[in-house]
């Protein structure tokens, strides 16, 4: 028998494991003795920021997580809220959607292709482990400037990783967002979202119930990869030494994942599975502890049975490995063979590695020796929780200062429009999404390129329904830096507005909160403000927060990223054939602007690009107006009154009108002629980013204006579609902008490829 030779476990080693002295004392208290090396490893990962949410829990608790609507068969009811693998919301017809977004920032910075790929793999497992078939993915990406060759390489690598994995597993990637900013030069963001479909009464949870039930390990073999990978990487700042103490980065195996999806869904159909969870961060440890903790049980495990890829893995390594594509299942005792046979048919390893016990302890044996014996709850449910000090950033006043009166007006509006369309943040992301399979599974009604994606709902047995889900992921990090509360409110509002532009009603949201080091009071203030904004907006719009993820320590050499609370909104449309697209679909329609344009240039793309200034207050958000606007869109699109609706976002009205002209099918290009009468400065009219605005095209402007008035939504007919130019001017005066659409389109299309081709 191999003798276990492990380092001396003491306070110093605990510190090396990222545990504080107070946490070490707490471990001694819980155990009544010093932990074994394996136990120390377990405490260290389970109590890491990544797994325990110790700095964020007090704030996240305040979020609205259930819909006001009841009971459970009603559309919009939250069936599973935060805490499980992902959140679940009823969509009627006995169906539910399950979705979540998660970060894979640090791994993607170190190895962009594999880091992004394993991010996609992880979020898929969160979704299908609950019994849902994953049907649509989104991704939110942030890089440093494309002028930096390293960031061109990172962009390429990340996109190859997301595509390589998502395409192989047969899940459509239907949308996302991508932006570039100096603040991400040392720390890119890769947030991956997935949504799955499940029968509402067949949702599986990660729980180890039933005394004596077998615990099954299924999927890839365990290797030495990623020990302290995701968990510790995501729980500490980056510095120049990160490369030296790098853990082994995991490589994704989408083929195994695809087989796992099918095998797990088949296993769940047998009716003998009582609980299932993926092995994500902290691998076997985290999944077994969480499953036991949720069920109030214990687990007894024999590590020698774990399928192993490498020779001589120690118990510490077996417990902490973050090898990908692995699942943990609990089945009814005596019926496990049915499940094992299914995995065998898919040529996947599946082994009974333990049993459920009743004493609330985790007992792990290795080579006949007990290497772990700890109570489950103090490790899992009762992990440390900190209310960290917060402080308003010293320079916040400076950030928010902007004197519009002294700001030189735009002298070349057409040039500004071209410059905006060419800028990486606004330019076409087609170079990215053309590399994603956006229509596998045959449900994509609107793929990437519009405001929100639209995915028809088809039952697992292949029966199509008329319903569709609208999906959008959004955040304006600059706004969040200028005012984290207002910026986060705006992110929720924009995501919901994008969803509403298809005709869908916003249902619920998930979020990924990417921030710097929470131990710094200024960062913690940003975080708390952002969570407050998230809660306020979610409550006002009636879209509960059903799942989410926090990514702290997005800093390099002491410089934090802008606060980046990514919001992904899911909406529901009753009839997928009755939807609106975001581009003009016909000539001769009236162009109507819903919402009001105010003199707001703070935090705008125009200000950053043309005045080299990132300052001011972000535009105000009126959540009551937003809600009315979303309702108006849903009603008028369902009534066939509105053919196209496009959110006015970054770059303002001029950019939105240009996009309406050329983001449709390749051979469809429709210009418009628009007159703006508001009495505010022209550059704010053209490029200001006032929220709550949507450009719609309609064949019956009078009817639409009447509906808008009845709904209390400001609306004004501003022009008509047609021709091959974009013409915008003051009412009755010479045009500010009069450019051929083809020119605008070429600029928009080439913005990113052009930069990638450069040396």
């Amino acid at each position: 028998m191999t003798q276990l030779r492990e380092p001396q476990v003491d306070r110093a080693l605990a510190r090396e494991h990222g545990l504080t002295d107070a946490e070490w004392e707490r471990i001694l208290e819980i155990l009544g003795r010093a932990p074994t090396f394996s136990e120390l490893g377990i405490f260290s990962v389970m109590w890491s920021e990544h797994c325990s949410y110790k700095s964020s829990r007090v704030h996240l608790k305040t979020l609205p997580t259930t819909a006001a609507r009841q009971p459970s068969e009603v559309i919009g009811t939250v069936l599973v809220g935060p805490g499980e693998g992902a959140g679940a919301v009823a969509i009627g017809d006995g169906l539910a959607v399950i979705f979540k977004i998660e970060s894979h920032n640090h791994p993607s910075f170190i190895e962009p292709t594999q880091g992004a790929a394993t991010g996609v793999g992880g979020i898929l497992r969160d979704v299908f482990s609950m019994g849902a078939r994953p049907i649509a993915s989104l991704n939110s990406l942030r890089f440093g400037p494309l002028e930096d060759p390293k960031h061109r390489m990172l962009l390429r690598g990340v996109v190859h990783g997301i595509g390589g994995y998502g395409n192989s597993v047969g899940v459509a990637t239907v949308g996302g967002e991508t932006s570039f900013h100096e603040c991400y030069r040392g720390n890119i963001l890769v947030n991956a979202f997935n949504l799955g479909l499940v029968e509402a009464d067949k949702i599986f949870l990660g729980q180890a119930t039933g005394l004596g039930n077998p615990v099954i390990y299924a999927g890839s073999k365990t290797g030495r990869d990623g020990i302290h990978g995701a968990s510790l990487l995501a729980s500490a700042e980056f510095d120049d030494e990160s490369s030296a103490k790098r853990p082994t980065v995991q490589v994704g195996d989408p083929f195994t994942e695809k087989c796992l999806i099918e095998a797990c869904l088949a296993a769940m159909r047998t009716g003998v599975v009582v609980g299932i969870q993926d092995m994500g961060a902290a691998g076997l440890t985290c999944s077994s502890f969480e499953m036991a903790s949720r069920a109030g049980t214990g687990i007894e495990m024999d590590l020698d049975r774990v399928p192993q890829r490498a020779a001589n893995l120690s118990p510490y390594e077996l417990l902490l490995s973050e090898s990908q594509e692995r699942m943990l299942l609990v089945t009814r005792a005596g019926e496990e063979q049915r499940v094992l046979d299914i995995f065998a048919d898919w040529d996947l390893d599946a082994v009974v590695v333990g049993r459920v016990t009743s004493d609330g302890r985790m007992r792990v044996r290795w080579h006949g020796e007990t290497v772990v014996d700890i109570p489950v709850d103090p490790v899992a449910a009762n992990a440390p929780c900190y209310d960290r000090p917060r402080q308003v950033p010293a320079d916040l006043g400076e950030r928010q200062k902007l004197d519009l009166a002294s700001l030189e007006p735009e002298s070349d509006p057409a040039g500004a429009l071209l410059a905006l369309l060419d800028s990486p943040n606004l330019a076409s992301k087609a170079w990215i999404w053309r590399q994603y399979d956006s229509f596998v599974q045959g449900n994509t009604v609107i793929g990437p390129g519009g405001d929100a994606a639209l995915v028809r709902v088809k039952r697992e047995d292949g029966t199509p329904t008329r319903k569709a889900l609208a999906l959008s992921v959004d955040c304006n990090p600059r706004w969040c830096w200028l005012d984290p509360h207002a910026g986060t409110v705006a992110a929720v509002a924009e995501a919901a507005r994008n969803v509403a532009c298809t005709g869908a009603r916003p249902l619920a949201l998930t979020n990924c909160l990417n921030f710097g080091n929470p131990e710094k009071p200024e960062i913690m203030w940003e975080f708390a403000e952002s969570v407050r904004g998230l809660g306020d907006a979610a409550a006002a719009l009636g879209t509960p927060v059903v799942s989410g993820n926090v990514s702290f320590y997005n800093e390099t050499s002491g410089r934090a990223i802008f606060p980046t609370p990514t919001v992904a909104m899911v909406g529901l449309l009753d009839d997928f054939q009755r939807h609106a697209v975001s581009h003009f679909a016909e000539s001769g329609l009236a162009v109507v602007l819903l919402g009001e344009t105010r003199e707001e240039l703070g935090g705008s793309e125009w200000l950053a690009l043309r005045r080299d200034l990132e300052a001011g207050l972000p535009p105000a958000v009126d959540l009551a107006h937003e809600k009315r606007l979303h309702g108006l869109l849903a009603d008028t699109i369902a009534a066939g009154l509105v053919r196209s609706a496009h959110d006015v976002g970054s770059g303002g009205l001029a950019v939105a009108l240009a996009e309406c002209g050329f983001t449709g099918p390749a051979d469809l290009r429709i210009g418009c002629r628009v007159a703006l009468a508001d009495a505010i400065r022209a550059d704010a009219l053209l490029f200001g980013e006032s929220t709550g605005r949507v450009v719609v095209a309609t064949a019956d402007a009078d009817a639409l204006l009447a509906r808008a008035a009845a709904a209390g939504v400001p609306a004004r007919a501003i022009g008509a579609t047609g021709g091959d130019r974009l013409v915008i001017g003051p009412a009755g005066g010479a045009a500010w902008i009069d450019v051929e659409l083809a020119t605008l389109q070429a600029t928009f299309a080439r913005g990113i490829p052009r930069r990638l081709e450069s040396a």
Partner: protein, 81 residues
Amino acid sequence: MKAVVCVTLKPDVLDPQGRAIQRACATLGWDGVADVRQGKYFEIQLQTTDRAAAERMARELCEKLLANPVIEDWRIERIEG
């Protein structure tokens, strides 16, 4: 001169391709195939006639472009020409 370079995944890193090939061998009845690791192979034509210079260039290429040191090892198999 020509440099021949091989880039392989580090031993502890999962090699899904190699594993899939090994499994395929087993199902095809080639039981004797115990393990397969797949890597990349490069033939690089260098505009130099100096062996040492060629080796230096090849090494730099491997370090900066052909391999990601986080997951891959590289080896200059030979310099010929």
